[in-house]
C-alpha cells in the first residue's frame, strides 16, 4: 500500500504528471499575459503543451562533437530533479514525504536543473554553448546569495530559538501564526524572492544565458527533438516549483480545511506569482548585461534579503 501510495505521489499528484501539466499551464499563462500586455492576442493557453508534444515527435540530432551520454542524460536529470522538488514542497499542510523535506535539500535540488542545462550545453561542444553555460553559471552564483539569505531568514523566523530548516516546521509555524508574508520583517525577503524567481527560471530581464538574439539560445543551441522538448518542459516546471516554493514559504498560513480547496488556492497563488514576477517584469523590461545582473543581485536583492535576516535576528 505504501509503495502504491508512494508511486502515486511520485508519478501522479505532486510528482511528475501534476508538475509537468501545471507547469506547462503556467507557461501558457505567462505567454498569454505577456502577449496581452504587448497588445497581442497571444497563443492559446495550451500552446506550450502542443509545443512539447510536437518536439517529442521530432528527430533528435546529436552533433559529432557532442558527448552522447551527457548530451542525452542532462535534460532527463533536470526533469527528474524538478519533479522531485515538488514532492518535498508542502502544499499547505500536505507533504508527500514528510520528514524528508529540508530547505537545504531543496536549495541544492533547485540547482540541479541548472547544472543539467550546463552539462548538456557544455557537452554539445559548441562555442555558443560555452558562452551560454558561463553566463548561466554566473547567473546561478548571482541569485544564490540572496536565495540563501532568504531561506535562512525564513528558517530563523519559523524556528524561534531552535533551528528549523525543515519545510514542515515552517508550514506548521504558519498554520499557527498566520502567513509569513504578514510578518512585516519578512516583506523585504518576499520582494527579494520575487526577484530571485525570474532569475532562477531564466525569464526576460535575467535570461542572459539563453539570449536568443546574442548567442542563439546558448546551451540549447545544438538541441533538437525530445531533449529540447524536455528542456522546455524543465523551464515550465521551474516556474511551478519556484512559485510553489514562494507560496509555501510566504503564504503557508492560508488554509481552508478542505484538501481539494487547498490545492486550488495553492494553484491560484502560483498563477498570481507567475503573473506578478515573471510575466509583468518580462513584459516591461529588457535583458540585462551579465555583469549588471551579477551586481544587481549581490547588492540590491541581497541587501533586501539581508535586511530581512537582520530584522529577524533582532527578534522582529
Amino acid at each position: 500500500m505504501i509503495i502504491i501510495r508512494s508511486l502515486f505521489y511520485i508519478l501522479i499528484f505532486p510528482g511528475v504528471l501534476f508538475t509537468a501539466a501545471f507547469g506547462l499551464f503556467l507557461a501558457g499563462v505567462d505567454r498569454k499575459v505577456v502577449a496581452r500586455m504587448q497588445h497581442r492576442i497571444g497563443p492559446p493557453l495550451r500552446q506550450p503543451m502542443y509545443d512539447f508534444f510536437k518536439l517529442l515527435g521530432k528527430e533528435t540530432i546529436i552533433p559529432h562533437a557532442a558527448n552522447k551520454i551527457a548530451f542525452l542524460a542532462a535534460p532527463v536529470i533536470g526533469f527528474v530533479s524538478l519533479a522531485l522538488i515538488m514532492l518535498f514542497i508542502p502544499i499547505f499542510n500536505f507533504t508527500a514525504f514528510s520528514g524528508s523535506a529540508d530547505l537545504i535539500v531543496i536549495l541544492y535540488l533547485i540547482t540541479i536543473p541548472g547544472v543539467a542545462l550546463i552539462v548538456g550545453g557544455s557537452s554539445s561542444g559548441s562555442p555558443y554553448a560555452g558562452i551560454g553555460i558561463s553566463r548561466e553559471m554566473v547567473t546561478m552564483m548571482a541569485y544564490e546569495l540572496p536565495f540563501v539569505l532568504i531561506l535562512l531568514a525564513v528558517a530563523r523566523k519559523a524556528g524561534g530559538d531552535t533551528l528549523a530548516f525543515s519545510m514542515e516546521t515552517i508550514s506548521k509555524w504558519q498554520a499557527a501564526n498566520g502567513s509569513m508574508i504578514a510578518q512585516w520583517s519578512m516583506i523585504p525577503a518576499a520582494i527579494a524572492m520575487l526577484l530571485v524567481i525570474p532569475a532562477e527560471v531564466g525569464t526576460q530581464p535575467f535570461d542572459v544565458a539563453e539570449a536568443e538574439t546574442e548567442i542563439c539560445e546558448g546551451p540549447l543551441i545544438e538541441y533538437s527533438g525530445a531533449p529540447l522538448g524536455l528542456f522546455k518542459l524543465n523551464t515550465a516546471m521551474k516556474m511551478l516549483v519556484m512559485s510553489g516554493l514562494f507560496t509555501s514559504l510566504f503564504f503557508g498560513g492560508i488554509r481552508t480545511g478542505f484538501y481539494i480547496l487547498d490545492v486550488i488556492v495553492f494553484m491560484l497563488i502560483c498563477v498570481a506569482v507567475t503573473i506578478v514576477c515573471m510575466s509583468t517584469i518580462h513584459a516591461v523590461t529588457a535583458r540585462l548585461k551579465i555583469e549588471h545582473l551579477f551586481k544587481f543581485f549581490w547588492t540590491f536583492v541581497s541587501g533586501l534579503a539581508l535586511v530581512s535576516l537582520i530584522l529577524v535576528w533582532c527578534g522582529l
Binding site: 546529436i62 559529432h64 536529470i77 561542444g125 562555442p127 554566473v138 535562512l152 525530445a226 545582473l293
Partner: protein, 636 residues
C-alpha cells in the same frame, strides 16, 4: 595480538622503505612487489582494527618496550589508538594504497623510482604514526618526517623548476610551522612534565595557565600550517601543483588530514579548549576565510592541478569551520567532510593525473573535448566534481549539509550573527565550487577538442582502477551515510568529545576521575531530513527514464557512419560560418561577468599571492601572532 597492529603497520612501512632502498633501486619488479605488499599488509592491519575499536569500543594502548607508567607518570612512548585516531588512520591507509596502485602506472615514465617509493613509504608511515601515537613529541617527529618527505616528493621531478621552487617554499613555511609546534611542545613539557597526551589532557583539564595558552596558540598555528588554513596556504597551492599527481593526492588525502587531526587532538583532547566560545569563534573565522579565499582563488586559475589545490584549501576550510564549533553535530560534519574530501579530492587529482599522463599538459586553455577520448576518466571526474560541489545524492552533499546545519544551529543557539554570516559564506562557497568545476568540465572534458589532442588515448587500467574505487566510495558514502555515521563518525566524534576513556585506558582506570575530568556522553547525530529509500527509488526512476530517452530518441548518426558517410552538415556543430579552430572558448575566459565585478578583489588577492617566499613567511608569522593574541585576550 591486536594491540601490536598499529605499531606493526607503521614499522612495516618504514622497513619497506629501507628495503626498497636496499633491493629495489634498480629492479622495478622487486620494488613494486615490496611496495604493494607493504601497502596491502598495512591496510589489512589497520582495517582489522575496525571491529574491536569502532564497533566494540575498545581503545588500544601500547607502550613501547613495555615502559608502563610508574606511579601515575607516563615515562615511555605510548601508542594509543582510539576511534578518532583509527578514523584518520583508515583514511590514510586507503589513500595510500590507492595512490600506490596509481603510481605503478602513472610514475612508470619517470626515473629513480627507488627514491620515489622510499620517500613515499616514509611519508605514509609518518602520517600513520602521527595519527596513532599518544606521545606529543613523537607526533612532532612524525610531522617533521612528513614535512621532509613531502618536500622531497614535491621536488621529485626536479627538472621542472616549479617543483624546486614549490619545494623550497613548502620547506620554509613548513619548518616555521614545525618550529612553532616544537616551541609549543616544549612549553607544554615545562608545564606538565610529561609528553604523554592523555596525561597532559588530564593535567590541563580546566586548568589553563598563560604558558599553556601560549603553547596552545603555537601548536594550533603549527597544525594550521600543516592543514593549510588560509594565511598558511600559499606554499600548499604551489606544492600540489608541482608534485607528481599521485603525491598531490597524498597531500590532499593524508597530509592535510594530519593537520586536521592534530587540530582536533590538540583542541579537543589535550586542551579541552572547545567549550570556550571565543576559541570557537577564532577557529570558525579562520575556517570561513579559508573556504572563501580558497574558492575565489580557484575560480581564476588556469591550471587544472592548481585549481584543484585551491579547492583543497577551500574544502579544508569547511572542515576547520565545522570542528571549530565544538558541538557533536559540527564535529560529525567536519569528520565526514574530511573523509569525503579525501575521497573526492583524491579522485579529482587522479583524473587530473590521467589527463596529464594522456596529454602532457594541465593547462586549461590548451585542453578540451576529452570526454570522447577519455570517457571513463570523464565519468569519474564528473562524479568527483558533483561530489565536491555537494550535489545530492553524492557524499559531499550530506557532509556539507551537516556543516551548514551545525553552523546555523550554533548561530541560533548562541544568537551570534557572525555564525549566520558564516553559514551564508559556506553556502555561497558551495556554488562557487560548482562554478569552478563547471569551468574545468567545459575546459577539459567538454567543449571543443583542439587539433593537437585528436590522438589522445584513455589512461591505462592501473590508473583507472583507483579512480573507479574512489568514485564508488563517493557514491556509496553518499547513499549509505547512516552506516558511515554509525560505524565511523559517531565513535570518532564521541571519542574526541569525551576524553575520559582516552585518559583512563592509558593511565589506568579512575585516573581521569581523580583529576576531575568529566565524562561526557554524546548522542548520535540524527539525520531526519533525507530518506535513502525514497532517494533510491527516485534514482531508479532517473535511470529508467534516462534509458528510455536514450533508446527512444531517433538517432541515426551511427548508421550514417557505418555507411561510410564521414561528414554531414546536419551533425556538424554550428559556428555561424567561422572556422572551428578560431572559435575556441578558452577555459580561463569563462565567467568574465563575475570577474569584472570582482576586479578590485582579485587585484588585491593576486598581489598577496605574490610567490615571494618572504611574503609568505610574513603571513605565517602574522597569523601566528594573531592566533596568539586572540587566545590570550579571550581566554583569560
Amino acid at each position: 595480538m591486536i594491540q601490536h597492529f598499529p605499531v606493526l603497520a607503521v614499522m612495516l612501512l618504514f622497513l619497506a622503505a629501507f628495503c626498497v632502498e636496499i633491493f629495489g633501486s634498480h629492479n622495478a619488479g622487486v620494488r613494486n612487489t615490496i611496495v604493494m605488499i607493504a601497502a596491502t599488509v598495512a591496510m589489512v592491519l589497520i582495517y582489522a582494527l575496525i571491529k574491536p575499536v569502532m564497533i566494540e569500543g575498545q581503545i588500544i594502548s601500547y607502550w613501547m618496550g613495555n615502559w608502563e607508567p610508574v606511579s601515575g607518570y607516563a615515562i615511555g612512548i605510548g601508542y594509543e589508538v582510539d576511534q578518532l585516531s583509527l578514523f584518520f588512520a583508515l583514511l590514510v591507509v586507503t589513500t595510500f594504497w590507492l595512490s600506490g596502485v596509481y603510481s605503478l602506472g602513472y610514475m612508470s615514465k619517470d626515473h629513480h623510482l627507488g627514491h620515489y617509493y622510499t620517500l613515499y613509504l616514509m611519508l605514509s608511515g609518518s602520517v600513520l604514526g602521527l595519527v596513532m601515537t599518544g606521545d606529543i613529541f613523537n607526533m612532532f617527529v612524525m610531522i617533521e618526517i612528513m614535512t621532509f618527505a613531502s618536500v622531497a616528493l614535491t621536488a621529485f621531478r626536479n627538472d621542472n623548476e616549479g617543483a624546486l621552487e614549490a619545494g623550497f617554499k613548502y620547506l620554509v613555511i613548513g619548518s616555521m610551522g614545525s618550529s612553532f609546534t616544537l616551541t609549543g611542545v616544549a612549553l607544554l613539557y615545562g608545564q606538565c612534565h610529561t609528553l604523554n597526551m592523555a596525561q597532559m589532557s588530564a593535567i590541563l583539564y580546566q586548568n589553563l595557565t598563560p604558558t599553556s595558552i601560549m603553547a596552545l596558540a603555537l601548536i594550533v598555528a603549527g597544525f594550521g600550517v600543516k592543514s593549510y588554513i588560509v594565511p598558511f596556504h600559499t606554499p600548499a597551492a604551489d606544492a600540489y601543483m608541482a608534485a607528481p599527481t599521485s603525491v598531490s593526492m597524498i597531500f590532499a588525502g593524508m597530509v592535510n588530514k594530519a593537520g586536521v587531526y592534530g587540530m582536533i587532538r590538540v583542541l579537543y583532547t589535550i586542551f579541552n579548549a572547545m567549550d570556550k566560545s571565543t576559541v570557537q569563534m577564532l577557529i570558525v573565522i579562520f575556517g570561513a576565510v579559508t573556504m572563501f579565499i580558497g574558492v575565489t582563488m580557484a575560480l581564476t586559475q588556469h591550471d587544472f592541478k592548481r585549481l584543484l589545490a585551491f579547492h583543497s584549501i577551500s574544502q579544508i576550510g569547511y572542515v576547520i569551520t565545522a570542528i571549530g564549533l565544538g558541538s557533536a553535530l559540527g564535529l560529525t560534519g567536519g569528520l565526514f567532510h574530511a573523509m569525503n574530501h579525501t575521497l573526492f579530492k583524491g579522485l579529482l587529482f587522479l583524473t587530473a593525473g590521467a589527463v596529464l599522463y594522456a596529454t602532457g599538459t594541465t593547462n586549461l586553455d590548451k585542453l578540451g573535448g576529452l570526454s570522447k577520448k577519455m570517457p571513463k576518466t570523464c565519468i569519474c571526474f564528473l562524479i568527483g566534481a558533483f561530489s565536491i560541489s555537494g550535489l545530492p545524492p553524492f557524499n559531499g552533499f550530506v557532509s556539507k549539509w551537516l556543516v551548514y546545519q551545525a553552523v546555523y544551529t550554533k548561530a541560533v543557539e548562541s544568537g551570534n550573527f557572525v555564525y549566520a554570516i558564516v553559514t551564508v559564506v559556506a553556502l555561497v562557497v558551495s556554488v562557487m565550487t560548482l562554478a569552478s568545476f563547471i569551468k574545468v568540465t567545459q575546459a577539459v572534458f567538454f567543449g571543443q577538442c583542439p587539433v593537437e589532442l585528436k590522438k589522445t588515448q584513455e589512461a591505462p587500467v592501473s590508473m583507472l582502477v583507483p579512480m573507479y574505487i574512489m568514485s564508488a566510495l563517493c557514491v556509496l558514502a553518499g547513499l549509505f551515510y547512516p552506516l558511515v555515521n554509525r560505524f565511523l563518525l559517531h565513535p570518532a566524534a564521541q571519542s574526541a568529545l569525551n576524553v575520559t576513556n582516552y585518559i583512563d585506558r592509558m593511565l589506568g582506570e579512575g585516573y581521569a576521575a581523580n583529576m576531575g575530568v568529566e565524562n561526557i556522553q554524546v548522542a548520535p547525530v540524527q539525520f531526519s531530513f533525507w530518506n535513502p529509500i525514497v532517494w533510491l527509488i527516485l534514482f531508479v526512476v532517473i535511470f529508467v527514464a534516462a534509458g528510455l530517452v536514450i533508446i527512444g530518441s531517433k538517432e541515426e548518426r551511427g548508421k550514417m557512419l557505418q555507411q561510410g558517410v564521414k561528414y554531414d552538415a546536419k551533425y556538424a556543430t554550428f559556428f555561424s560560418g567561422e572556422e572551428e579552430m578560431f572559435s575556441q572558448v578558452g577555459g580561463s575566459d569563462l565567467f568574465w561577468g563575475f570577474k569584472t565585478d570582482w576586479k578590485g578583489y582579485y587585484r588585491v588577492l593576486e598581489g598577496l599571492h605574490s610567490g615571494i617566499v618572504t611574503d609568505y613567511a610574513v603571513y605565517t608569522v602574522m597569523a601566528t601572532a594573531i592566533i596568539t593574541v586572540c587566545m590570550f585576550v579571550f581566554m583569560r
